[in-house]
Chain length 243, copies 2
């Protein structure tokens, strides 16, 4: 039975980290909110989230349905899917290390969201623009180097070589790091250009992931939406700066 | 060998979610940064985080060392420890549901942090007080009801009864929900009093956890630090309001 991915239509958002894993593995899946017909579309997603009989509902998309099980949160979905898709380390201890790295990506993504929504998700960007400028400036000067410096260091210190972030095989964390680099370059091109010399290992990993046949085909397909200003990674020129 | 918990000394913070599980299970553990002597204290924690030879370093505390393995991030630590401590559901599918709930708590905790630090972690609260007021007002009016309403609903819809959030036995998620209620009541007493009628199930779970012998003994011990204004849950009267 196909995996059912539930995520907001129209944006890459957090769902994209799951899509990249499903696409790399050529898994059988449907992107429910992007489809139409009975039991499909955003309405079906919301209905499941608001269910009054389902014992375990998700707080927010993305979530994945696999038969009777509903798994929510990107890192949890990837922890669950990883071994099934051949995208998790074979060693159990390394799986916890992969999960720790993925949760650091989760934190980074939440901070990226808050660069354009530092006060309230319910407010328009235009209504929190001054706070967004202040938060983005701090994010660029302090948080980008801290997060990318961390991933770069883990990559370099990997005793199995720097082609992958965990062990010596491709994992879903590598795919997510591709998306992090891609997204940050979209949102903050000036800042990322200035930092280019500081994350060469990550950039090489990004390029290697982009060239994988299944990922490359996916990125050229219409299933890969373009970044836009409704997603997590948004490009507002006034928030980008040279650190 | 004792588990080694690494977390900032002087605050409950994110480390507390792990401590509650270790304490409930009466596990053999040491709280490294709070101890003194060779290999102990904050310096030892920072040294491990900054290691240039350790292949998998943590981005931030808390992290747990169990022999050769370093597990980072609260939800990951609890996912790892849960089965060993008898605090995870026996059923594997329920473990992913527990992890999804714990990751929702992770998101809530990050938002609580940002009520007093909406612009930058590196700035003092006093230097971002106006933004903190705006963010706290939105947090109180929109996010507290959304998060607590979600947990209350999951508790009520649990097909095994509403004494526990997952299945019919105590899990680390129950312990974390105790801490969430305790922390929100400390930080936002006016708001939480106003919302009291909306989370009766959660409040009952909170009280039941507080009365467990091992938790009760822990809360009365000097290992349980008081909430304070260096932690995640901070009480600034100017940020609390009746919704």
């Amino acid at each position: 039975m196909a995996y059912e991915l539930y995520y907001w239509n129209g944006i890459q958002g957090r769902g994209e980290f799951v899509r990249l894993a499903l696409e790399e593995a050529q898994a059988d899946y449907i992107d429910v909110a992007r489809l139409s017909g009975p039991g499909m579309g955003t309405a079906a997603m919301l209905e499941l989230m608001r269910s009054k009989h389902e014992p375990y509902i998700a707080f927010a998309p993305p979530f994945l349905r696999d038969g009777d099980l509903i798994v929510s949160h990107v890192a949890n979905i990837l922890f669950y899917l990883g071994p099934k898709l051949g995208l998790a380390p074979g060693d159990e201890q390394l799986r916890y290390l992969a999960n720790g790295l993925q949760l650091t990506i989760t934190d980074l993504v939440a901070e990226v969201h808050d660069t354009h929504h530092p006060i309230a998700t319910s407010l328009y960007y235009a209504d929190q623009k001054e706070a967004a400028k202040a938060r983005s400036a701090a994010f660029i000067s302090e948080r980008i180097p801290k997060f990318l410096g961390y991933f770069e260091k883990v990559l370099r210190q990997n005793s199995k070589g720097s082609s992958h972030i965990v062990g010596d095989t491709l994992s879903y964390v590598d795919l997510s790091l591709f998306q992090v680099v891609e997204g940050l370059r979209y949102a903050f091109p000036k800042a990322m250009k200035a930092y280019a010399g500081d994350y060469r290992g990550l950039a090489a990993l990004h390029d290697a992931v982009a060239k994988r046949p299944n990922i490359s085909a996916y990125l050229r397909s219409d299933r890969r939406l373009a970044f836009n200003e409704d997603g997590i990674f948004r490009h507002y020129p006034e928030l980008d700066l040279v650190p």
